[in-house]
Amino acid sequence: MELLRFTTAGSVDDGKSTLIGRLLYDSKSIFEDQIEAVKKSSERKGLTHVDLSLLTDGLRSEREQGITIDVAYRYFATPKRKFIIADTPGHIQYTRNMVTGASTANLALVLVDARHGVIEQTCRHSFIASLLKIPHVIVCINKMDLVDFSEEAYNKVVEEYEAFASKLDITDIRYIPISALNGDNVVNRSENMDWYKGASLLDTLETIHISSDQNHIDARFPVQTVIRPHQDEYHDYRAYAGRVAGGIFRTGDEVTVLPSGLTSKIKSINTFEGAIDEAFSPMSVSINLEDDIDVSRGDMIVKTNNEPEVGQDLNVLLCWMATKPPRPGAKYYLKSTTNEVMAIIKEVTYKININTMEKLDEDTNIKMNDMAMVKMRTTRPLVYDEYRKNRITGSLILIDDTTNETVAAGTIHS
């Protein structure tokens, strides 16, 4: 059974909560005592319907204000797959939360109201999915019951989305007409829409091909820590622990350690269950090398002849997440894989209007929830790939050294 992580975004009345509620309920992932508690709370609030958002909007201030404060993770499983939903709110701090949810997702679920078609929020969510390189997008055209399950209405929305999707860097886009409220095409094929010949939403989520989403070509192994047992039976034992971030490593492979450039061969790949012949992303293993060379946390072991970039000048697309704007000339901790260096933002090249994808080069003042292309300079060489090549070795976060807050997320473009 595989694991599929997907993200959703939407505002209060586009039916997102209803859709998630239905997926959870129909897959028997909501328990009776949870439903009972939510029913009671809904009644106390004087609501006529059962408010499924109360299932995860658990914080006192969320319940008081009736809003979701940040990303909520929800879980359900069918006999075929396990799913993790990163459910992001549409109204406040939307970019920051959507980027967070999108960073780990294989798939984005975009909800469109069949009556209103493609609106600003649809675009925003889709652009973020594209910028964060989510490989699959499912566009759910919802509330089909309110347009008499009309094929014509559905086609109109599909055409609108397709016209706009030419600006996106997403190859796999699918469309499904649904009614989350009544369950049409959510779990079972709808009897109200004979003209739709595709699969239901759940069926699509269960069968969409995701095993080739991982990069299995460019072998990358960021070292987390060094394992050195201080026990007699493992006197000279030294292994590098980490999680494979790309490609496949095999025993005997010639490898280079970056940024030092020292070379060696893989002596063995170890797990608790014993040595294994090969390790691929995203496996956590430890690696022994043939030679006793200097390797420590923050270094990257890669296959010789397939090496990532090493450099100090980067073009980065930043999503600014802090309430305070960047301080001019300030140094930030830059964290990428297991490495941490200091870095400054030298120049803001342009900002992006996240609703239209337009470049804005007049206004270069970065504020919270802005996306901006910047030039950065690091104090020490960074080992990286372009984000489009590898989502792990091509991403970074910035940390303010005075508050210790994570202030920005970035994807490396060159």
Binding site: A37, R63, I227, Q231, Y237, S284
Partner: protein, 301 residues
């Protein structure tokens, strides 16, 4: 299909091992919070895998309410012996004796909240800067908002509205002196995942999880085990029941369910058919809609 993919349990395991290794790499004095329950047993098992063949490079911390199941204590001591690592015990009784904590009174009195004092004391006395726990996002709605790396201020408090965003697989462990982190490597696991993993890995767990005969009292929809600490209320009577526990905690607040599941296979089968959450048998969570959040803000697990 390509052979280069992981099953969901392998992927969750790999993620948890990655998180545990990040803790050891980023902090000076980490520790594992060990309750004797299945989740902390799984976390300890994952830590063992993460650093094999070395020993787990951190101690276990157990907060002892003084109201324990004997089976849990024996299990804990055997495990610590086998792993060859240090055990730190934070005693609620000692905190009460020293006047640091005051015993609750009334019919619903328990030592659940008093654990916060002993936990924060143990963290401070041992200068622990990262405490790894087995909490999962699926088990309770306040826990659904937890980060993998959850920041605590110098009073050990959690500020749920002001949490650091977590992106990709990068965890920010920067902190000021006196602050610490709680870390939850199995955040993305569900109860079902934990049981399937225990079954798959054949991890030893306390006998309390398997069906057995026991004296118990029916109270608030659950079977509370009879013990020297249980005070019978009017109309209540002690009965012999074939039962087991879905979660383990302080003996005075942990209720069991009637069950015949006496093997891991039967437990997995029973859980997949069940229609109520595991914490439904925990009276500590029934105090109010936000009782977990309120306790967590003060420094609870």
């Amino acid at each position: 299909m390509s052979k280069y993919y992981l099953t969901h349990l392998q992927e969750l395991e790999s993620e948890a091992i990655y998180v545990i290794r990040e803790v050891v790499a980023q902090f000076d004095r980490p520790a594992i919070l060990f309750s004797g329950g299945k989740d902390s047993i799984v976390v300890t098992h994952l830590a063992r895998k993460a650093f094999y063949p070395a020993r787990i490079p951190m101690p276990l911390i157990h907060i002892d309410t003084g109201h324990n199941f004997i089976e849990t204590m024996e299990f804990r001591d055997n495990l610590v012996d086998e792993l060859g690592i240090q055990l730190i015990v934070g005693s609620v009784q000692a905190a009460i004796d020293k006047g640091r904590a005051v015993e609750e009174e009334g019919i619903n009195a328990s030592r659940n909240e008093l654990q916060i004092v002993s936990l924060l004391d143990a963290i401070e006395e041992n200068k622990i800067d990262a405490a790894i726990g087995g909490a999962r996002r699926d088990e309770e709605k306040a826990r659904a908002k937890e980060r993998f790396f959850s920041h605590r201020d110098d009073f050990g408090q959690w500020d749920p509205k002001n949490q650091r965003p977590e992106l990709w697989n990068m965890f920010n462990g920067h902190k000021r002196m006196g602050e610490h982190f709680r870390v939850f490597p199995i955040s993305n696991w569900t109860e079902m995942d934990v049981w399937n993993y225990i079954l798959h890995e054949n991890i030893p767990i306390p006998s309390l999880y398997f069906a057995h005969e026991r004296e118990a009292v029916y109270r608030d929809g659950t079977w509370l085990p009879n013990s020297e600490f249980l005070v019978l209320r009017e109309g209540e009577k002690v009965e012999k029941k074939r039962m087991r526990f879905r979660t383990l905690g302080d003996i005075t607040i942990t209720g069991g369910i009637e069950s015949d599941a006496d093997t891991l296979e039967k437990i997995v089968e029973e859980i997949s058919a069940t229609r109520s959450t595991e914490r439904g048998n925990r009276s500590d969570d029934k105090r109010s809609d936000t009782s977990m959040e309120d306790r967590k803000k003060q420094g609870y697990f």
